[in-house]
């Protein structure tokens, strides 16, 4: 996918690199051995995932006795069995997770872009102080806030609702995304704002009509990172959701081992595959943005 997207400049760069490697005397043979080592590491790392997919398609009895990746006997019924194995069927858990993810993305895009525009493009009293404070919260370990926040949400009657998981995202509490957008907005020429002002745009109009459309790459990065982290999120739902009807996919998956069933491996692996599929899909679709995003902010 990405090879076809390479710009001519990158290709030129690669030729330079090749020439460079040759000048350093690293032979074709050493380059070959480098590929062998990298492929071996890659295979090692991918093996557990491939084993997961293969096990999800094997009958229970074969999972631990037949170690080949290509199933000797196929049992796709694991997927239908797993789908209905728990109290509610997985459609419920998937739609719960989806609702939380979509609203979290909207919340982060909305609140973080507002804050980022304020920090990056506007001048106001105390801007530097607030910006430093924002950077400080990036380093603050979340567990310090955990207990008072839990008490607060309990007092608000928000236990067993999605509010504790969603509302913070609408309040720009994720400083990483603000920082990412600030970095991006700072790279846009300020002449744009000046031109807009001369044409009579106020700050809101400038934000909405000039800056926002240009920030699409930063938004894509934020959306993908939010998707992955919220989809994987385990601690928050574990803490705030006790009603199985509200469970997200990770909470539901854990029930496979929580309940009696140390034996329903096939269905469990089948649902594990389904739970990872959206992340892998987003990863393939948005790799460009992810790589750029973590290179500029060090997001995980």
């Amino acid at each position: 996918m990405s090879t076809t997207m390479q710009s001519p400049r990158q290709q030129a760069g690669r030729e330079d690199d090749d020439a460079l490697v040759e000048r350093f005397g690293s032979s074709r043979r050493s380059r070959f051995s480098r590929h062998v080592i990298l492929c071996a590491i890659g295979l090692f790392m991918m093996y557990p995932l491939m084993w997961l997919v293969s096990s999800s398609l094997k009958p229970n009895g074969l999972i631990f006795s037949d170690l080949s990746l290509w199933p000797a006997a196929w049992h796709p019924a694991n997927y239908t069995e797993g789908w209905t194995a728990l109290e509610y069927d997985f459609g419920v858990y998937f739609s719960n997770s989806l609702v939380i993810v979509v609203l979290s993305i909207i919340g982060n895009l909305f609140s973080c872009s507002l804050a980022a525009y304020g920090f990056a493009r506007l001048d106001f009293t105390g801007r530097k102080l607030f910006f430093a404070l924002m950077l400080g919260t990036m380093m603050l370990p979340g567990h310090v806030l955990l207990i008072p926040q839990y008490i607060l949400f309990a007092k608000l009657g928000w236990l067993n609702t999605y509010y504790p998981l969603l509302v913070p995202n609408f309040l720009a509490t994720n400083a990483f995304y603000i920082f990412l957008m600030v970095q991006f907005m700072r790279s846009l020429p300020t002449e744009l704002d000046d031109a807009a002002r001369i044409d009579g745009c106020g700050p809101f109009r400038t934000f909405w009509s000039i800056i926002l459309p240009l920030c699409r790459p930063a938004f894509a990065t934020t959306a993908i990172f939010t998707f992955i982290s919220v989809w994987n999120e385990f601690f928050g739902p574990l803490l705030y959701l006790t009603d199985p009807e509200l469970y997200t996919v990770p909470l539901a998956l854990r029930q496979f081992v929580d309940s009696e069933g140390q034996s329903a491996w096939g269905p469990m692996f089948a649902m594990s595959v389904l739970s990872l599929a959206p992340i892998i899909g987003f990863f393939i679709a948005g790799q460009k943005y992810l790589v750029k995003g973590i290179a500029t902010t060090g997001l995980k």
């Binding site: 990405s2 350093f24 590929h35 631990f64 370990p141 008072p148 001369i198 803490l239 469990m268 739970s275």
Partner: protein
């Protein structure tokens, strides 16, 4: 600069700010800024108030039902004689100080192999980066339990070399090792940051060094390491802070118990048990602040040490 000055010269009279309105304009500008930051300000309330509230709770006995009762330093002194707490500190320290250096070394090593003149870079990068997105998910931690199970593929693989089956997940001597391996498996995100950093190092430095006859190791020691040191520093701080707060891996690996024999009882897992199973909110808050101080101390140490090994003048 000159461009905007030229623009100012041709600006119509009406747009130019009249001097007496300065103060009012300033206020209007402030108001716009504060409006944009409004959600963030409210969000900060959700951060700052709990921050100080948990500091207060750390000095109290609080079970959520009766009002908090001030007990001074009792929570903190109790921590020193709590064997489970000391165990959870040990688990977290061992986990952090083994897995962070190993995963950063793996990240740097692979990034250097990928850096220059390699075909198929996007593919390799994707393969190495993907696990770091999955490492914290419940599905992968569950998978790990079975990959390292008694009749899992790891034992089957080792068995070919004559190694006897190891009870990775149920033997207290090995349980943490499996989680350290899981951490190393996710070296992809620091690797991508290293790759970006390596790309910034000018090729001519290496050319000059090669002309001078510097060996491969010498070029790594004298060019790559110093020029990459700010990024190593950044990755180190990030990984330390994240690793001190490990939770899901310990929770899912052994059904929330931190077993076997508390060998995967991470600090945050024990904090969760104290707060939300035992409802010792005061004690849990004291634990939270203790960890904050520990993290701050290690971060500060890393910052102080940076003077001796991080190179900022390029």
């Amino acid at each position: 600069m000159t461009a905007s000055a030229a623009e100012a010269a041709v600006m119509p009279e009406a747009v130019r700010p009249p001097a007496p309105l300065r103060g009012r304009r300033r206020a209007r500008r402030d108001r716009a800024g504060y409006l944009f930051l409004l959600p963030w300000f409210i969000g900060m309330l959700f951060t700052i108030v709990p921050f100080f509230a948990s500091l207060y709770l750390a000095f109290t006995d609080y079970d959520l039902l009766t009002p908090p009762e001030w007990i001074g330093l009792e929570n903190f002194t109790a921590m020193f004689s709590d064997p489970a707490l000391l165990q959870s500190l040990k688990v977290t320290f061992v986990y952090t100080f083994v897995s962070v250096p190993l995963s950063l070394a793996a990240a740097l090593g692979v990034a250097m192999m990928l850096n220059r003149g390699i075909r198929g870079l996007p593919w390799y990068r994707a393969v190495f980066y993907l696990p770091s997105l999955l490492g914290a998910s419940v599905a992968v931690v569950l998978l790990w339990r079975y990959v390292f199970g008694l009749d899992g593929i790891v034992n089957a693989f080792l068995g070919r070399f004559g190694v006897e089956a190891i009870a990775w997940t149920s033997d207290p001597d090995y349980a943490l090792t499996t989680l350290i391996i899981l951490h190393i498996w996710t070296f992809g995100s620091p690797m991508v940051i290293f790759l970006a950093g390596l790309r910034q190092i000018p090729v001519m430095y290496y050319e000059a060094a090669a002309v001078d006859g510097a060996s491969r190791w010498r070029r790594f020691r004298s060019i790559t390491l110093p020029l990459l040191s700010p990024i190593i520093f950044f990755n180190l701080i990030q990984s330390l802070i994240a690793s001190f707060q490990t939770f899901t891996q310990g929770f899912v690996m052994n059904n929330g118990g931190g077993g076997p024999a508390n060998s995967t009882l991470f600090y945050n897992l024990y904090l969760y048990q104290q707060g939300f199973n035992q409802f010792n909110m005061g004690y849990a808050s004291a634990m939270a602040w203790t960890l904050l101080v520990i993290i701050a101390a290690f971060t500060a140490l890393t910052f102080i040490s940076a003077k001796y090994w991080v190179n900022y003048d390029n």
